[in-house]
Symmetry: C2
Subunit: 386 residues, 2 copies
């Protein structure tokens, strides 16, 4: 467990000297968020404005996904976008206007270590290319801020270890952007599985892919992406296989298909089929691809029931059904829920249904490394986790 400073809390809270005191304060605050009011014969829950602790976030990397996160944070109750880190001054001034960012909270890649002395930023969400995650997360940790890092966590297990170590040493939290771990239909399915409603889990299938456009983008650059489709969209099937089954694979086999050697250069995978074996004897069969549009399907089969989800991980509403009927949990923008939940994980030590920490991120990277090894060797690769 990390110890961490509560940047965003009032001075009143800082005088508390135990975590229990802190958590009691928080719990009280959370309860105060809803008031039961009686009107005529109906008992209604009237929401009152949130006045609990707020996670004040800076986004590093103002690309399209950064923009998506920034837009989503607007609707957050527990998180707020307060700062930016970018190498492009024009983007910074655009974001200042668009998101009402205080100029004093704007940084570039040369000076962002100065965030250390900025008491108005609690956490930095690193949304830069995969190959830069390690140095940026370590930089954020060095600045004494909590790091949220977009997935994949890094481009090697070694990098993941360095990032975990750096955050531990700096006493800051490290969270990975696993937005599906908070998505309501996904969480409902995970809870059904935990409650044994599917029975003994036997098989998972994850098919995730899309047709990638611009061949010049960083996602098709080995140094920056660390791979190809697997590092971008395949990881959804990797991670999904784990949270859907509730197990970590012990072996993997994988087969690569490459039809376009120009667009997908050496080390940049176009399509990979991969299979897992789990300790229970369950299996998984997955597909990661940059050549098939809107491929976004999960299927979990147990001896008492099943769930199929399509879309299963896309940004829009998730849809699916189980043997009992359709999943009906309402849709909220995934990144809004994610950031509100991450605020609670960071500020209140809330435990998510499925971890979103560095260990979780490293585990996916250990599996992806095994997949690449299996592709290369053509053999079954046994996975040993750190």
């Amino acid at each position: 467990m990390h110890n961490f400073p509560f940047h965003s809390l009032t001075k009143q809270i800082f005088v508390m000297n135990t975590r229990r005191q802190f958590l009691q304060k928080i719990t009280g605050s959370a309860v105060a968020c809803t008031l039961l009011t009686k009107t005529s014969n109906l008992t209604e829950v009237a929401p009152v404005p949130y006045d609990g602790p707020l996670l004040r976030v800076a986004i590093m990397g103002l690309g399209s996904y950064g923009t998506r996160v920034a837009d989503a944070i607007k609707d957050c109750k527990k998180a707020k976008l307060v700062g930016v880190i970018s190498g492009t001054p024009a983007k910074i001034s655009e974001w200042q206007k668009k998101y009402n960012i205080d100029p004093k909270n704007c940084y570039n890649y040369e000076n962002y270590s100065e965030i250390k002395s900025n008491p108005d930023i609690d956490a930095v969400y690193v949304i830069t290319p995969n190959g830069l995650h390690k140095q940026h997360v370590i930089g954020v940790a060095a600045a004494g801020k909590h790091a949220i890092c977009e997935k994949p966590m890094a481009i090697s297990v070694k990098e993941c270890n360095e990032m975990i170590d750096a955050c531990n040493k700096a006493n800051v939290k490290l969270l990975i952007g696993y937005r599906m771990h908070f998505e309501p239909k996904t969480v409902a399915v995970i809870n059904m599985r935990k409650n044994n409603e599917f029975g003994k889990i036997l098989f998972f299938q994850g098919l995730t892919g899309f047709k990638i456009g611009d061949p010049a983008q960083w996602r098709l650059n080995k140094e920056l992406a660390g791979g190809g489709a697997m590092m971008d969209i395949g990881i959804y099937s990797v991670n999904g296989a784990r949270y859907m089954t509730g197990e970590d694979p012990v072996w993997v086999t994988a087969q690569e298909i490459k039809t376009d050697q120009v667009k997908f250069k050496a080390g940049v995978d176009e399509t990979i089929q991969f299979q897992f074996g789990f300790p229970s004897g369950a299996g998984a069969s997955c597909l990661s691809t940059y050549t098939m549009n809107n491929l976004d399907r999960f299927f979990l089969n147990g001896d008492k029931g099943f769930v199929e989800m399509q879309p299963s991980t896309g940004y829009g509403p998730i849809a699916g059904k189980t043997h009992l009927g359709p999943l009906t949990q309402p849709h909220t923008t995934h990144q809004t829920i994610q950031m509100d939940e991450m605020a609670q994980i960071i500020l209140q030590n809330k435990t998510p249904v499925v971890p979103v920490d560095g260990i979780e991120g490293r585990r996916d990277m250990e599996i992806i490394a095994a997949i690449y090894k299996a592709v290369k060797s053509g053999k079954k690769v046994n996975i040993k986790y750190a």
Copy 2:
């Protein structure tokens, strides 16, 4: 192409001396089957009783699937159940009553070579355990009758070759019981694929399995079954991968999972995941299992569209949808359509949408042999077809 005697046709047809004359006669007959009649303002199609050639079939092996086929043939217009071959006298007398079988058309495994001199039987449908198909088909061929053989065609490629040779030498047709090749929704999908409505085919997924019961049944006996789930239900994914994509795989990888060593003895597979690579660069990912109930899912993805089917190969109505909407072709008992179509293949040289001949059966066996080899070696196996 086989030359074959037209047992079931009238003497009038035998005097024709060219295939063209024969086909012209048949075509005329087929057209005569429907009459356009005008009533008030509506043009209605009034079916008239079928009076074309009839395939007179004997069933060898009176088990549960044999019974299913016998029941289905009742509704056939072009095929008729007229005989049985069984080692169990009680079954024979039961079938005689139930299906009104003439005692002179009843045989056992000792005397069925005598069918040779029975002019009232055109074809024998071999529905015995897989391990007996070879000897039975060769026996049927030796008796000068067309052989319909349930799938899998045999338990080795070598056996398939012997069966093909025997039927060729005897100038009889050899058809394999690929009922899905005639199923209307499946045929509609195959035609859509041929018409390029899915665009370039990229990926096929076939998940087929059920939970097998009685551990003493022949399907769990290596000698009689030739394997386990793969030979029984996995073959639907193997064959489906081919007719859905329109290609034959050039490589296969496969992984076995066995959780019950008692029920699934050496050589009897419980669950196998297998993957194909096709010449076009498309891939397939399939599952064959005896431990998951009602697993019956096909998914085909092209760059212009998709189809998902579930159930995709079960005996009941097939259901599915494409990017254009649901598949709406009406359901007819698969085995009824199959036998009516096989009658036309045998009697009228009709060409099915996808072949159902011995070459087709052998091809699946070549692939299954490669799957078993891949399971054993843990390596990618390149497939070379005879």
